[in-house]
Amino acid sequence: MNASGGRHALRSSLNGIARFVLVLATTLLGLVAITFFIGRVVPIDPVLAIVGDRAPPQVYERARQELGLDRPLIEQFAIYVKKAATGDFGNSVLTTNPVMSDIANVFPATLELATLGVLIGIFIGVPLGVLAAVRRGSLIDQFVRVLGLAGYSIPIFWLGLMGLLLFYAKLGWVAGPGRIDVTYSYLYTPVTNIVLLDTAMQGQWDAFWDAVSHIILPACLLGYFSLAYISRMTRSFMLNELAQEYVIAARVKGLSEFRVIWRHALRNAAVPLVTVIALSYANLLEGSVLTETVFAWPGLGQYITNSLQNADMNAVLGGTLVIGAVFVLLNLVSDLLYRLLDPRTR
């Protein structure tokens, strides 16, 4: 019985994996289909953009054929999918580089900012949410509520500008827009393209602290938005856990309140929290588009908006697709982690 049960479990988990892969594949294909569709709607004629409007008809026709625009739509889509699968989104008109290598260059900057943001969100948001749940209705609970409501209502780009005005222009506590001062930018060689890592690994501490003073404000800003979400969700998960019988049992056993809350209840609340954190990380990618514009942060968000303003569709669609794919993958990871952490789903 044991062996057959094991085989059964194996088969069902294999089925689960197959389903997973299928869903992932169709979703990614759908993402590509949407960007392909958007690319086809563009009122700009891509051929004219290349040959110019004074080109003779033969040149125009040849360029059209080279771009594959004379073939049936479905064939064009097949070619587009094949290229997208290998990471080929064509060349950017603006930078003349392949879009994918541009993205590889700018993505670490976004990653650095979003990671720091989500870390701030976790380290402040989780304790706040726990306290709000434990002291329900208290001042700190109200504070978390207001913090969350404001987080859902404040335009992120505006808060960024006000932050710059206050902390950079008026108080001078932080450095202004950009990633690092020009004076420091030659002191280290970019290896990972994550400035904090590069400067720290090469022992350039002056450059490191300069980079810190640049990143701290946008990271706190993104951190605030993820904190608003994380603390609210932590509160509701914790309220759920604190009402469970095992909490009463732990208290009856005579465990300290600290232990009951932080070791027992939070540990169980942490399982659904993983999903929330992955989601908020994904949301920060979105927030980064506006934040990077405000802080002149050379990441993916700024790359997309710059390309947009120059009608550089290859770059826009490539960037959109990459963000969509990261979004899907993060969802996937959170799903897998959930299964891993919660024994009941096994």
Binding site: A150, Y152, S153, P155, I156, L161, A282, L290
Partner: protein, 318 residues
């Protein structure tokens, strides 16, 4: 139904006619459908008004609507043509210009007043476009089930897989900047969550006895979906759409800030913040004031949505 203790004698000085109306509304044995409906509405309204934050939200939203309707009478100056460029540019807030003037010597207060029309236009139009799409996709998917459900939900998931602003950006990039295109782009990115909610509700309704009864009476599938399933999905959807309106406003403002929404000289709040960016350090009010307007209005919609949820969808409220 929990509002049973709302007895007329709690307000002894109330005129007889009103207490008669209240008794009629709260009657345990309504004589018509209308009476029952109005009675339920009244109870909902009672519990809504007892929530001060929800009332604050309602007040903000009503104020926004009034501002938009009466902009011509409230605004002291023109939102588009400015004053004297030599003497009235970038003036700080004062008695003549309550919120200061911008780089074109235009009164920021007047521009914010007129901008409420654009905000309202976006919110209303997006909900009018996105809600029916989500409702239809969700109910059809949930009621029919099978491969229709699989296909429709797959499509919904694909749209959900993009962060909203990014997808809207890509659509606006294709359609070209402008307020109408921004509305279309936001609507395209807004319907998937509505479809999800409508489907979940439909799955619960689908197997109930009254649907079986309607089916036995020979009602066609479209009739069942439109006449019996859709009305029951509405209340949770209304809550979701209201809660979403703040998000719609923020997305629209974000597009405007990036120069992809309403085009100048339209007084769109996000675009106004973008203008103020150039004068941030010395003339902070140009960027600050429209941002406060965006914040207050989305806060209003959030509070209103929270209040509506407590009344219409008590299960979801924690």
């Amino acid at each position: 139904m929990a509002g049973a203790p709302l007895l007329p004698e709690s307000l002894p000085q109330a005129p007889a006619r009103s207490s008669g109306l209240r008794a009629w509304l709260l009657s345990a044995e309504p004589h018509s459908r209308w009476q029952a409906r109005l009675g339920r509405f009244y109870l909902g309204w009672r519990s809504f008004t007892s929530n001060p934050l929800a009332m604050l939200g309602l007040g903000i939203v009503l104020l926004l609507i009034l501002m938009a309707l009466l902009a011509d009478f409230i605004a002291p100056y023109s939102p588009v043509t400015g004053g004297d460029l030599r003497t009235q540019r970038l003036l700080p807030p004062s008695e003549t210009f309550w919120l200061g003037t911008d780089d074109q010597a235009r009164d920021i207060f007047s521009r914010i007043i007129y901008g409420s029309r654009i905000t309202l236009f976006v919110v209303v139009l997006v909900s009018i476009i996105a809600t029916p799409i989500g409702l239809l996709v969700g109910t059809v998917s949930g009621y029919l089930g099978g491969w229709v459900d699989t296909v429709l939900m797959r499509v919904t998931d694909i749209f959900l897989a993009f962060p909203r602003l990014i997808l809207a950006l890509a659509f606006v990039a294709a359609l070209g900047p402008g307020i109408e295109n921004a509305v279309i782009a936001i609507a395209i990115t807004s319907w998937p969550p509505y479809a999800r909610i409508a489907r979940a509700e439909t799955l619960m309704i689908r197997n109930s006895d009254f649907i079986a009864a309607v089916k036995l009476q020979g009602a066609s599938t479209p009739r069942i979906i439109l006449g019996h399933v859709v009305p029951l999905c509405l209340s949770s959807l209304i809550v979701r759409v209201t809660l979403d309106m703040a998000g719609i406003i923020l997305t629209a403002a974000g597009l405007g800030f990036l120069g992809l929404g309403a085009q100048p000289p339209t007084p769109e709040w996000g675009a106004m913040v973008a203008t103020g960016r150039n004068y941030l350090i010395d003339q902070w009010w140009v960027a600050a004031m429209p941002g406060i307007a965006i914040f207050v209005v989305s806060l209003g919609f959030n509070l209103l949505g929270d209040g509506l949820r407590d009344v219409l969808d008590p299960k979801a409220a924690k």
